[in-house]
Amino acid sequence: MEMGVQLLGYWASPFALRIKWALKLKEIHYENVEEHLPDKSPMLLQYNPVHKKIPVLVHKGKPLAESLVIIEYIDEVWKHNPLLPQDPYQRAKVRFWAKFADEKCVPTMFKAFSKVGAEQEQAAKELRENLKTLESALEGKHFFGGETIGFLDIAVGWIGCWARMNEEVAGVNMIDVEMMPLLSAWFQKFLELPIIKECLPPQDKLLVHTKEFHKMLMAALT
C-alpha cells in the first residue's frame, strides 16, 4: 500500500478514469473509494469543498482536485515512468492540447449528445472539427506521447470510449473515420492496450448508463 493513496471516483466518470490510468502507469497501489453519485459522501464534500466533485486524490491525508492538476502531481511525486515530456516546450505543447480537448471537445460533445435537430447537427459538426484539430497534435506519431503513451494520451483517451457510446445512443457521428483517420486509429490502438483496457468501466453497464442519461436529457428538452 503506497503510503496512503486514495482515489474518490465514480465508475462512469471519464475524469476519474484519467487518474486510474495515471496511477496504473506508475504502478501505484491505491484504495478506490466509489462515490454513489448523485449522492455525495461527507468525505467528498470535506475533501473538495470548492467544486464538490470527483475525482479527488488523497495522498497522506491531503486532498487534491482537478484531474489534470492531479496527474501533474502524480508525475512529480512518483518520478519513474514519466507521463509528461522532459523538455519545457514539449510540456507546453501537451498542456496546450489537454486544455484544448477539455475546453473545446467536452462541451461540444455534451451538446451533440444532449440536443436534437439542427442544434445537435451544429454541435456534432463543431466537435468533429475540434477532433480533427486535435488529430494534428499526433504529428504522425503512434501515440501523443511518441512511441509510448503519456500525459496527453491519458488526458484525451476517454473520448474514444465515450464517443462510441454517445454515437450509438444519440445517433450522431462524432469520430468520423474518413475525416480523422489518424485519430481514429489512435483511439483504437490506445483503448486496446491492456493497461488501458483493464481500467475501462464495463462497456455493457456503461451503455445502459448512457442510455438512461440520454433519456433523462431528452425528457428535459420537451
Binding site: 469543498p49 491531503k62 487534491l64 482536485a65 492531479i70 519545457p88 516546450y89 507546453a92 498542456r95 484539430t133
Partner: protein, 222 residues
Amino acid sequence: MEDVKLLGAWPSSFSYRVIWVLKLKGVKYEYVEENLFNKSDLLLRYNPIYKKIPVLVHGGKPIAESIVILEYVEETWPQNPLLPKDPYERAVARFWTKFEEHTSPTFFSFFQSVGEEQERAVKEAKELLRIIEEQGLGEKKFFGGEEIGLADIAFGWIAGWLRTMEEAVGVKLMEDDRFPRLQAWIENFKAVPVIKENLPDHNEMLAYFKQRREMFIGSATS
C-alpha cells in the same frame, strides 16, 4: 541566448500576466502590440487555433494560452520561482489557477449582460469572490504565501481590472469592507514593484471599458 517575443494587447489582463512574469524573472523580450480588431499575419500564424494573444515566441517556437506560457517561463527561467518546491503546494497553486479560469464566464457575463442575466451574474460573481477570498487566499498575504506566485498572477486581474470594470458597468461587486482580506491582497499585490510599474493606465482603461460596455448594452437591448 535565443530571442523572446511577446505578442500582446493593451489592456488585456492575460497579456499582462506574461509581462509580469517575464519581468519578475528578468527575462529580456521584444513586445509586439497586436490590434485585436485587425490581427497580424504573425499572430494568425503563431496561434492558428485560437488566434488570440498572448503568444510567447522563444527561439521561433510559439506558445499560446497564458497559463501554459507561465508554466513554460517558470520551467525555462527558474530564477524567482512562481511555484513552490513541494509537489502538494504546487498542485494547490495549480488548482486555484484553474479555478480562476472557471470564473471567466461569470465575470464576462457581468460585464456584457443587462437585466436579469446581469443580476444572476452579479450574485454568482460575489459568491466566487467569497470562495476565492475564504478558501483560496485564507489567512495568507498572497495566494503564494509570503511572496506572489502563479495563482496571484492568475488572479491579478482582480487587482488591476475589476475596479475599472465595476466603474464602467456601474455596479460594485466588492462592496466596501465586504471582502477585507481580498482587499488587502489587492493592495499588497499592486505594491509589488514589477506589478506597480506594469499596470494599464486607469483613465485610459476606463474609457475603453465604457466604450465596450456601451457596445454590449447596445447589442443586448437591440
